[in-house]
Amino acid sequence: MNGLFQQDVNQETFILNLGPQHPATHGVLRVKLEMDGEYIVDAEPVLGYIHRMHEKMGENRTWAQFLPNCGRMDYLSALSYNHGYVAAVERAAGIEVPERAEYLRVITVELNRISSHLLWFGAFVLDLGGFTPLLYAFDDREQILDLLESVTGSRLTYCYFRFGGVYNDIDDSFITGTREFIKRLRKRMPMYDALVTKNIILIKRLKDIGPISKDMARRYGATGPVARGSGIDFDVRKHEPYSVYSEFDFDIPVYEEGDSMARYMVRMDEIEQSMRIIEQALDKLPEGEIQPKKAVKLVKPEKGDYYHAVEAARGSFGVRIVSDGTNSAYRLKLRSPTYSNLSLFGEASRGMLLPDALALMGSLDLVIPEIDR
């Protein structure tokens, strides 16, 4: 516990239920807080309010039938989840993916990552009491949704990837639209910078608030922007390059401070990096098929277990498949990044003031359906 705030042990504490319906939890998360006045003595997240047992569904459905489920866990970066699942099955069944399809996957996933970070940005500032940036961020996000809708056919719960490729090819209007969007967002980022990032109130609320040390991030298995904000240079896209990520030149923003501001800055910088990847991918986009020549009809991976991780917007999303050689999974484990990221909240928030703890919670970028699965 933070020594500064440690008070008399005999002090009366009370239990405060944050959620399951509370404006700051962005969904049905409940946090049981033991409070001493406005100081948090102990925090215990209570999960499971939107638990749907996707892992059991994976056992009961064929490999292909599970695809739509992927979009319904992390509904903000559904394509990363699509990617993780199809990549794991492709690894298990040894399916080759044409290069163009890999490029399309990267482009759409990165667009989705930007939209997820934009929404997080708005919602996070909303947590801090600033209303307007949310609407601005939605304005930009809307453009991405329109673009993705034109290729994938849906706006939120995408089911775009197929085993061995993608479902639909992009056309010229998508390419020009994406380039225009990148130009537009590059113009808008300085505005966000001036309106939010450089705002003294925001800086005071985030600097040195909610520190997560390198060691704490490791012990809890935190990944994604949470780990990178704690000075850990870990991004699955670089660390264990999958798909065609090794062909692009991009940086992994890492901040050493470990406070909420660092996590904020990581995500803001990642938007720019994702735009760089998309631009390069559009430049290099090869011609060719988007599905294997021989269509993948029946997927029957060999017996054994397989693992594949991808970098979702919130961290490392891993899929562990245990196959018994039939056309459905024997066991399907989905490792969701926020589950691990949230688990450190109890330790990290100890001794904090309630509003600071909520700033910390916002900076973890929680998507509850992904935690509960």
């Binding site: 404006p23 209303f131 601005y136 109130i201 005071k204 509003p355």
Partner: protein, 338 residues
Amino acid sequence: MPEPFRVILFIIFVMAFAGLNAAYLVWCERKGAGHIQRRIGPKEVGPFGLLQPIADGIKLMTKQLFLPKGADPLLFMAAPLMVMVPAIMSFMVIPFSETFVAREVNIGLLMIFAFASVNVLGLLLGGWGSGNKYAVIAAARCVSQNIAYEIPMLVTTITMVMVTNTMNLNEIVRAQAGWFFHWHIFRLDISLLMPVAFLIFFVCSLAETNRAPFDMAEAESELIAGAYTEYPGMGFGVFFMGEYANIVIGCALSVILFLGGWQSPIPFHPVGFLGVIWGLFWFLTKLYALIFTVIWIRWTYPRTQFYELLNLSWKVLIPISLFNLILTALQIKIFPWL
């Protein structure tokens, strides 16, 4: 006009003014927020959504008045009134124009501050009486916030009383007659820190009325709705009206003390009925410009942290306002002819 009749007329006017202001400031707020956020805002009910406040009012009034379990019925019911009534009382001494004032009380300033303190009590009792943990936290915040901000506000006010030699609001306005540079905010010859004093007063009135970025007592992303969490229907509605009435009072005081009240920026003041209208026009223009600024601030900035808020008051505003007090006293003593 006989005196009792005049006062009754004014009470009716003030209540209508407070009620209309509350209703239409909500509309302004929503419309303003809409345009700041690049959307339209209310537009369905009536032209430009102008009937929206009435629809809102009907909705609030038809809601069940519900007393939560564990709440103190007396405190719970009385609290909204304790916010609303003092705010309306304060209007009685506000000079809308030179002769357009209900009662020209020679301790008008003191009276407003006395009533403003009751407002805090209302929020405290409301929060405490609802028996909700979030509301209690909000009530505790509200009290420490108001104590912290009342001090620099009062110190600044004392400075102004020293300058004008009166607590009669109308006299304070009359002291600023002439060109706009005779308004107190521009009178660097009285005190070099006058614009700063205005800023302190304005910031304090934001904090006193629990407006963003100091809306600790409401803080919807932390405390759900703070002290108002348990209030249904019109209980909440009255709180809400009281809050807006307080904003109007706070901004009106800023206008009177620093921005020349009903004085026009040029030394021209027609006599008779036209003069009343002329003064009213300038007073309301300045008042609503300030209120718009309040709304603008709310939709631009995130909320401060609670200890930052107290730090700002104790470590910045109070020392500066005290310094300003001393500086003004010295300037008055050394250059008495100014």
